[in-house]
């Protein structure tokens, strides 16, 4: 009996070692593939930091950013001010290849972004067109969110990897909070810490999940109407129902 137990224990130990070896091998291969694809973050964040970590005093020189200059995935060249404006800015550094960014992109695309305070503007920044494919980013990003592609912005913010978030005070352009987060709910905590607005995290958030095709169709129709000079609320969008016309016709 004792011999059987010992044999079983040895077999289990060997199997355990094989499984551990396979996992380590898979992890190494995965990392190597990501590096070959050029998508690996240049500097991996330590696991302990891979949760929301607003860094106070990290920027000893009090980094100030006056503007963001970049290109949208559709080719617009943009200068977006970050100082001397009456709103704060939340800069979300995302990339197309980072696994953790996937759910953040999906939430943006499918309208699951929590309600942000009115004084806060969200801008997503990816690396520039030499490091990221505009087509891939256009596919990930929704039309109604500002997305800029610029490696220079990443360097200006000393971004350590993605996902990463920076909170910029609009009055001064000073970076007052930064850190990483795996969900938009965690990002709200960064916003609350940076802005001192605790009410931010008490928001329940919208549940506006909508198929992307619907959103694309709506955006396309909106743009056509805008170009034709028809704005939200235009009376022509609300024709009088036929039954009302008929009734009014009888009355008059």
């Amino acid at each position: 009996m004792t011999v059987v137990v010992v044999i079983e224990a040895v077999v289990l130990l060997v199997l355990g070692l094989v499984v551990a070896g396979l996992l380590a091998s898979y992890s190494g291969l995965n990392e190597r593939i990501r590096r070959v694809e050029g998508r690996a973050p240049q500097q991996r964040l330590p696991p302990d930091d891979f949760a929301l970590t607003p860094v106070e005093g990290h920027r000893e020189d009090g980094t100030t950013v006056l503007q963001l200059v970049g290109r949208t995935p559709l080719g617009d060249e943009v200068i977006l001010p970050t100082a001397g404006v009456d709103h704060d800015l939340l800069v979300a550094f995302l990339s197309s290849g980072c696994t953790s960014c996937g759910s953040l992109w999906a939430d943006l695309r499918e309208g699951r972004l929590p309600v942000l305070p009115a004084y806060l503007r969200l801008v997503v920044v990816t690396r520039g067109v030499t490091d990221e494919s505009p087509a891939a980013i256009a596919d990930l990003a929704p039309d109604d969110i500002d997305v800029l592609m610029s490696t220079e912005i990443w360097e200006d913010f000393s971004t350590p990897g993605s996902p990463y978030f920076a909170y910029v005070e609009g009055a001064t352009g000073r970076v007052v909070g930064e850190g990483t987060a795996l969900s938009w709910t965690q990002v709200l905590a960064l916003v609350a810490t940076s802005s001192g607005d605790a009410a931010v995290v008490s928001e329940t958030g919208r549940d506006l999940a909508k198929p992307r095709s619907d959103r694309d169709r709506e955006n396309g129709v909106d743009l056509l109407l805008l170009n034709a000079g028809i704005l939200p609320g235009d009376p022509s969008l609300y024709p009088t129902p036929a039954i009302e016309v008929a009734l009014n016709g009888e009355v008059s």
Partner: protein
């Protein structure tokens, strides 16, 4: 000011203002040989990512002290036609030239000014919207200061 230059258009952007230089996107129903020229949007307020050429989608967000500027390139075929007969962009806009009747879309309180001209051999429209009367004194001088900085390079604005 920061100089913003792309797609053949260049402009000095005042601090705190936003600038976007875009190319007209093909629309369903466009003629096969339809030219898609670049255009500039400049604003003292945050511009939404999706906007119409004359600011639809953006001008509704303006406060009374805001300004929106659109400079649209209509290509060589429009140049020197009777509508685009004026040579060069206006260098100075008079406050008296702004009125609600100049608006592409009437929004109560807003004032507009629209000019057609030929610049660098291309038909160009300058369209300025003020959020309200306050901007006549606060923003028109800023618009006049930046107008001379707007320039076109012929090679860069090929459709």
């Amino acid at each position: 000011m920061t100089t913003h230059r792309a797609l053949g258009i260049s402009v000095d952007v005042p601090r705190g203002w936003e600038a976007r230089i875009s190319r007209m996107v093909p629309q369903p129903g466009d003629h096969v040989e339809e030219q898609h020229h670049p255009y500039l949007h400049l604003a003292s307020f945050p511009l939404p990512p999706v906007r119409a050429h004359y600011g639809g989608g953006a001008v509704e967000r303006m406060r009374t002290d805001d300004v929106f500027i659109a400079v649209l390139d209509f290509g060589t075929e429009a140049a020197n036609t009777s509508l685009f007969g004026h040579a060069g962009l206006p260098r100075r806009l008079a406050r008296s030239g702004f009125s609600a009747r100049q608006l592409q879309r009437m929004i109560p309180g807003q004032l507009g000014s629209q000019h057609f001209c030929t610049v660098a051999g291309r038909g160009v429209v300058l369209y300025v919207v003020l959020g309200g009367g306050t901007a006549l004194s606060t923003k028109v001088p800023m618009v006049n200061a930046l107008l001379p900085s707007i320039s076109f390079s012929h090679e860069g604005i090929k459709a």
